[in-house]
Amino acid sequence: MFYREAGQFKSSYAADQQIFPIRQDRIGIAAILIAAFVAVPLFGNEYWFVAILIPFLIFALAALGLNILTGYAGQLSLGAAAFMAVGAYAAYNFQLRVDGIPILVSFICAGLTAAAVGIVFGLPSLRIKGFYLAVATLAAQFFIVWCLTKFPWLSNNSSSGVISAQRIIIFGHEFESAREKYLLVLCIVVLMAMMAKNMARSSIGRAWMAVRDMDVAAEVVGIRLMHTKLLAFAVSSFYCGVAGALYAFCYLGSVEPDGFSLDLSFKILFMIIVGGVGTILGSFLGAAFILLLPIFLNVTLPWIAELLHLPINGATVSHIETMVFGALIMFFLIIEPHGLARLWQIGKEKLRLWPFPH
């Protein structure tokens, strides 16, 4: 009843192929964007920006990057955090060593550096796939973190490789407050998400999905596997690299190589699994779920305990938090292995018909 395309006739292929062909989607997206760009900056407070919104957007971007590689092109990777590290350190070094380079340019260069590294570590994908490839990408994870610790030049000779991000100045304006940083991150994430959506619906996206679904058939219709897979690695690493640069510059301020450990890679992988493999929306839902649920539990558990007059302390809260979190992940994966994005899609299909049975 609420969500249906009845009466929305398409009279041209252009209308049918626009990015959001259904009016309700367009309204929804517009509403979210207005809320994110106008309402949130007006009413949000420091805690929301620093602890919730900025990390959510940055991790959504990293998840988007991994989703391009794993969800669309079907190449399982455990190196997302390593490519974020490349991005963070590259952005730092470009700022440090190139005089007068605008910060946005060094973010792009950071992405390109990560893309180049991604291509190198994507080479094994030409021969192996699935779990074996995942193990091969572990090499990236360990090698890159090792490099960043081992070569002091990369962190400008700081002890144990810690870098402190430079100030963010764009056209003479310094982005200092959390609100400004939030807006900067939001702009970049929205732009890159739109670009990912466009790639997913054009020939490059179809080539990726074809390689994922049936590589022999893809080769027979004329898709060059090597080119397609390496491009997926490059684009994915670009996204992770930019996310890493934002992670250092807009979120943490100073990072160390060990911050980009395998744990972080797994976290990003869980985001796309929980959110939905092979969907743009899923990257955002997954990032929200993995990041926000612990915060939510942290806030609500003591409150529930108080309601039930149970004694509770900080340690118990964090234990219960971990348990509930794990249980919820299993619960969601059992009811919908294709992730939250699929649940949303099923919901939409139900809403098309509701309240009629068919």
């Binding site: 292929y13 252009a14 049918d16 192929q17 990015i19 670009m195 990912a196 466009n198 790639m199 054009s202 020939s203 490059i204 996206g205 179809r206 080539a207 999905m209 074809a210 994922r212 679904d213 049936m214 022999v216 058939a217 893809a218 080769e219 027979v220 219709v221 004329g222 898709i223 060059r224 491009l231 684009v235 092979g278």
Partner: protein, 261 residues
């Protein structure tokens, strides 16, 4: 039968031998395919029919032999070069891209013809956007031709078997091939579905002049629609010629029905 004129030899396979380790899949097979004809490959299970198709479009590399395509001689094809040269094919066990819609599967068939780079595509900018629309129009023609308008937005994994076979034919047709390789296009279909499929194959051949190489087990179909038939058994060629000749060839009868020793 249609009235199209069968042309010269377009594809000539010369002494093809293919081995997997000690297993001889194909031994010294030669035959040719003329332009615009429907050429059937038949034979009992394990005769090497699918291997033959895989050699033709480069999925397998034969150890010996040559492939002459449009006068150009080469030892083996490569899949994407074959696709560029105008080969398209369907597979015995459907090889569609399961996670994608019918429309996207067909559009993928045209990927080779799309030239804009991924940056333009990411921005959905000018040429990339125009290109999408142009190819969409072509794909819609194929959709009309195969009468699958109602399922164009459906993910192919949800379609019944017969329709999936048709969509796979559509993906091959979307590439506007000059040679179409069909690996058991009618396997597992009921009579009506087979009739539909035969009609499509004949129409493709007739309207677009596409040369068709076809593997099929249904002898009625093979004898009705093909111009010439190659018979393989245990990786060797045992018969070649018009359907009637092949039908009366004692070696062929022996291969299918067995002989008295």
């Amino acid at each position: 039968m249609s009235t199209r004129a069968i042309g010269d030899v377009i594809l000539d396979l010369q002494n093809i031998s293919l081995r997997f380790g000690g297993v001889k899949a194909l031994t010294d097979i030669s035959f040719d395919v003329r332009e615009h004809e429907i050429r059937a490959i038949i034979g009992p299970n394990g005769a090497g029919k699918s291997s033959m198709l895989n050699v033709i479009n480069g999925v397998y590399r034969p150890q010996e032999g040559n492939i002459v395509f449009r006068g150009e001689k080469r030892h083996n094809m490569e899949p994407h070069k074959a696709a560029e040269a105008g080969f398209a094919r369907t597979f015995q066990n459907i090889a569609l891209f399961k996670g994608m819609s019918v429309l996207d599967n067909l559009m993928t068939g045209r990927n080779l013809k799309m030239r804009s780079n991924f940056l333009l595509q990411a921005l959905w900018w000018g040429p990339a956007r125009r290109e999408e629309l142009e190819h969409r129009r072509k794909v819609e023609e194929v959709i009309d031709f195969l009468e699958i308008e109602h399922i164009r937005k459906t993910p192919v994994g949800r379609l019944p078997y017969g329709l999936q076979k048709r969509v796979e034919l559509g993906r091959a047709l979307a590439a506007e091939p000059s040679i179409l390789l069909l690996d058991e296009p009618m396997a597992g279909m009921n009579v009506e579905e087979k009739q539909d499929m035969c009609r499509f194959i004949l129409d493709v051949n007739d309207q677009f002049g596409t040369t068709i190489i076809l593997i099929e087990h249904d002898m009625g179909v093979v004898m009705d629609i093909s111009d010439r038939v190659v018979v393989l058994d245990y990786g060797r060629k045992i018969g070649d010629g018009a359907p009637d000749e092949v039908k009366n060839n004692p070696d062929v009868i022996a291969a299918y029905l067995g002989t008295q020793h």
